[in-house]
Amino acid sequence: MAKKEVLFGEIFKTNSKKIYHLCYGYTGDEAAAHDLMQETFMKVWQNLDGFRNQAMISTWIYRIAVNTCLSWLRVEKRQAKDPLTDYIIENSREEISEKNEQVEKLYKCIAQLEENERLIITMVLDEIPYPEIAEISGVSEGNLRVKIHRIKHKLTEIYNRYERF
C-alpha cells in the first residue's frame, strides 16, 4: 500500500497541474476544475493496480481526465459558457493583476469552444505531443491537425473580440 501511495504521489506531482488546466479549460470555473481534477485522480488511484505500461501513464491519466470531463456535463446542470461581459463587469472591481486577468479571460474564452475543442486546445497549450493528443482523444492524427488549426484560429478570434471590451 505504501509503495502504491508513493507512486501515486509522484504521478500526482508530475501530472496534476496539466490535468487541472485541462479541467479548468473545460469548465471555465475554478471550483468545478478542482472537483473534476479530484475525481480524475480518485479514478487514477482506483485503477492504478490495473495499469501496467508506465511509459504511457500521462496518456492514461489524460484519458481518464477527458472522460471525467465529458461525463461532468452529463451529470451537472452547470453551464460552462458564462457570458464574458458579466465576468468582466464582475471582476473589474477586484484588484487582480493584469496578467492574471488575461489568463482568466483566456480560460473563459476556451469555455466558449465546443467540448472536444476545449479538451484539445488545452492539451495543445500544455504542449502535449500531437500523437499523444490523438491517442487520448481517439481522433486520427491527420484529422487532429486540421481540427487544431481550426481551433487555434477560433480561440484567437474569440479572445481578440473580447479583449476589446
Binding site: H34, Q46, R63, S137, V139
Partner: protein, 196 residues
C-alpha cells in the same frame, strides 16, 4: 490584437494550479469509500432486520390461511431482492474499467448505461410495488376472517391507497427521469458527433 503564440505565452506564464495535494485525494478516496460502504451497510442491516422480523412473525404466528404464508414469503423476497439490487449496483459503481475507453466509446457507454438504468429503475420499481401491494392484499384475506369488519375495511383501504400512491409516484418519477434522460442523451449525442 494577439496571435495564438501570444495566447500560448500567456498560458505558459499562468500561476494557476491545483490547491490540493495527493494526500487530500487519498483522504477523499477513503472518505468516499467509507461513506458508500456505510450507506450500503445501513441499508443491508435495515433489510436484514426486515427479513428477521418477517421470519420471526412467520415462525411465531399461527396463521389460518396459506395466503398469509405467501404474503410473508413475498415480503421477505422483496427485502432480499432489494439487497441484491443494492449490492449489484455497488459492484457496477465500483468497477472503473469504462473510464479508460476512447471518448466516443465512453460516451456510447454512458448513453447505454443511462437508458438501461432508466428502464431498470422504472421496471423494478413497478414490480417491487406490485409485489408489496400483493403481499398486503394477501394478508388482508386473513384479516377479513379473524378481525372485525372495520379492520378489514381499513386493511383494504390501506392496500388501495398504497397502489394509488405508488402509481402516482411512478408517473411523476417516469416523467422526470424521461426528461432528464432525453436531455442527457441529446447532450451526449452532440459531444459524440464532435469526436467523429
Amino acid at each position: 490584437m494577439k496571435d495564438f503564440d501570444a495566447l500560448k505565452d500567456l498560458w505558459n506564464g499562468q500561476t494557476n494550479g491545483p490547491k490540493m495535494d495527493h494526500e487530500d485525494i487519498l483522504r477523499d478516496v477513503r472518505k468516499s469509500r467509507s461513506s458508500i460502504a456505510g450507506r450500503l451497510l445501513t441499508e443491508s442491516l435495515a433489510m436484514l432486520a426486515g427479513v428477521l422480523i418477517f421470519g420471526w412473525i412467520w415462525l411465531e404466528g399461527s396463521f389460518l390461511l396459506w395466503t398469509t404464508h405467501l404474503s410473508i414469503a413475498i415480503l421477505i423476497g422483496c427485502c432480499i431482492y432489494y439487497l441484491t439490487v443494492q449490492l449489484t449496483d455497488y459492484r457496477r459503481f465500483s468497477s472503473g474499467e469504462h473510464i479508460l475507453q476512447k471518448p466516443d466509446a465512453y460516451i456510447s457507454y454512458l448513453q447505454k448505461y443511462q437508458s438501461e438504468r432508466y428502464s431498470f429503475n422504472t421496471r423494478n420499481y413497478k414490480i417491487y410495488s406490485i409485489f408489496i401491494g400483493l403481499a398486503m392484499a394477501l394478508f388482508a384475506i386473513e384479516l377479513y376472517y379473524i378481525s372485525p369488519i372495520w379492520q378489514s375495511i381499513l386493511g383494504l383501504a390501506f392496500t388501495t391507497g398504497w397502489f394509488i400512491m405508488c402509481w402516482r409516484l411512478m408517473i411523476t418519477y417516469r416523467k422526470r427521469e424521461q426528461e432528464r434522460l432525453k436531455e442527457m442523451i441529446t447532450k451526449l449525442e452532440g459531444i459524440k458527433k464532435q469526436f467523429d
